[in-house]
Symmetry: none
Subunit: 210 residues, 4 copies
DNA sequence: TATGAATGAGATTTCATTCAT
DNA sequence: GATGAATGAAATCTCATTCAT
């Protein structure tokens, strides 16, 4: 009789929920958000019915995966902000080890479908804001460190991030990891302080997104 | 019942074919290659029947759009190679005005579905090869000009291109054109010769793709 | 594991059983016998599991509700037969206060599904027979009283009952109670002895049903 | 390219549409409005796809059947109003030969589901109003003829109609046609002018419905 | 030849029933 | 014994493709 949305799930139900989100994360990342629900259920090792009991429709599942992901990114950013040797290094790490970042970006920025679903979700909005605040802080500090070029803002960094994290499909490359690492390194060089070419317009802040 | 593939189409049939490809290009670019055939037909102002008479199935349509696009990119690259003030400038122009480039990349590299379809098509393979040859030439010349960093190959450039051209969805940005222009400029700065950070591995050539 | 069907239920189990039947009665009456089992369980304030422990499947529940109802109608008819000032009045009362009558009729006569389930149930058959005997008695006595027209039998009366008790959905009427009362009164006027129009055929007795 | 809703259907499409409505009418009448769409399609001799092309969902089909039916009732009423020997006779005929009347009533008044769907449809509303106007006229005239009791209005008549037309399921009766005819006759006797019992309240007019 | 109607396979979603907690 | 989670069969609906007009 627990209509209360706060009632914690039963142990087995929680386990299933986690498995479903994990499976959906992997599949969404590799095949986009349109894969048959049945396939996701199978990958999670549950029946479709279970999937639908936990998430009333595809949108709810996408939302849940997105929230889970943004939360992961936020954790990561906060941890790196404290533990990395410098703010610049924190930004760089965030990129290189950005599996979660990647999916978040993909869901939030790259798929029309996903965007429609997420754009008005308050939980997503809240996490997004928190992540951008963290990035904003890193940007300011990395500029103070003299490592990040001065003419960019958190918005610029987020946009470059979004482009970078878009995983190139492995199938087109003989040496996919190397190619990825190299292209990220090249783009990071573009962000570095030093003898840069002037950019058009003005620095884009975190509020220039949306 | 002209089975001869070389028979030129009647004028109106050719017009239909062109309209369909044009419509499909726009829709594929904005919504990916999974949109209902009926929608494409409607956008082209023809009935589904006509679409299917011209292209026996979705794969054939995707192939035709891809060929059309690669051909456009090749034209562009050849023209820029001759007309641009420098090889570096040609590469930069290719990026900034890369609407066709974008769709080619998206079709060829970003969508699992499209990739499956295109990977064994000889016409696509031929055009791809021609484009990469052109890029290879520009890369060598731009390095000789001292404008492009020495430690990259045509493969690296193509990978960075692929990341760059992935259009950020306008809906997430207040100032989409500006954001795009800025992020491209940042990434190009990463390609520039000058005081660069060492890249991992070795330069990737055009044959490191696929 | 008392397989003995006669073992009385534990007090709480009996309470659950009663709640379920009460809830099902209300829901069947308003939405027909196809409502989701979960909804019935919720309305009864129990889990589905409990519902299924008490009634092995939907059919069993429908049967139980029908039995409960017919028993109520029988009680009612017997009481009215004794307490009402006349047999005619007993028939009229049976109609006007026929909530249970209504559901019985609906289950037994109006829903294809319910009919299939009930038609071979011996307990239902027995109660039905008992109710019809009671009505038969009232019919004979009401005709002897000179109140009920002579050319009808218990079968006719049951059929008219079935039509009358079909509750008109309140949502279609501005003044639902009044409309119901008036239409019942009109139809009862049709049953009254007096200057009547001849009916086709012969009086239908209780054995003309089924 | 005929997006115009007024464009007449192609001959074969119109034939299918008609067959679907005819099949749905029969099935709705005997099994209610919840039967599987596939079954309706099969009965109409078309594929499900065709059914869904013509009627985007079940609601649309229900609406179409209802409109078709109300139109039939209206035709019937108008014809009888002119051709029947008296207004009273017209009302009686409307009842006895009320196959369409029956389904209309069932759809409009008896099924919760159907009512929700129809209650805001303007076309249905318009036809309903037209039918009630016709009945209103017949009521006034039948009262002037001295055949219909004076203390009823069109609303009362419609309510009694609704109760009458609810076909008793044949499976419960040995002699279903006879039983139906007799019960209708009995109820009509209740509507007759003559020595009647006073009804509660006031006559209900056509605007007391809804 | 162009059109859009028809088809049916497959995807989404619901719900009766079973079973772990 | 009670609960509500899990299951999968069945219903709803969509869309690629074929075919009559």
């Amino acid at each position: 009789m627990s209509a209360d949305p706060e009632t914690p799930l039963r142990a087995d139900a929680q386990r299933n929920r986690d498995q479903i989100i994990a499976a959906a994360r992997v599949i969404f990342a590799s095949h986009g958000p349109e894969v048959p629900m049945e396939e996701i259920a199978r990958a999670a090792g549950v029946g479709v019915g279970t999937l639908y009991r936990r998430f009333p429709d595809r949108d709810a599942l996408i939302r849940a995966v997105a929230v889970d992901n943004f939360a992961g990114v936020l954790d990561n950013a906060k941890r790196l902000s404290v533990e990395a040797p410098s703010a610049w290094e924190a930004l760089v790490q965030l990129l290189y080890h950005g599996a979660e970042l990647q999916l978040s970006m993909q869901l939030a920025m790259l798929s029309q479908r996903a965007h429609e679903i997420l754009k008005d979700d308050p939980e997503v909005a809240h996490l997004r804001e928190a992540v951008l605040l963290e990035v904003d802080d890193l940007v300011v500090r990395a500029q103070a460190e003299g490592a990040l070029r001065k003419d960019v803002g958190a918005g610029d960094v987020a946009v470059v991030f979004a482009r970078i994290v878009r995983q190139l499909p492995a199938h087109r490359l003989k040496t996919p990891e190397l190619a990825t690492a190299r292209s990220i390194a090249i783009m990071i060089d573009g962000l570095r302080a030093g003898p840069v070419t002037p950019l058009p317009g003005r620095p884009l802040g975190k509020d220039d997104l949306i």
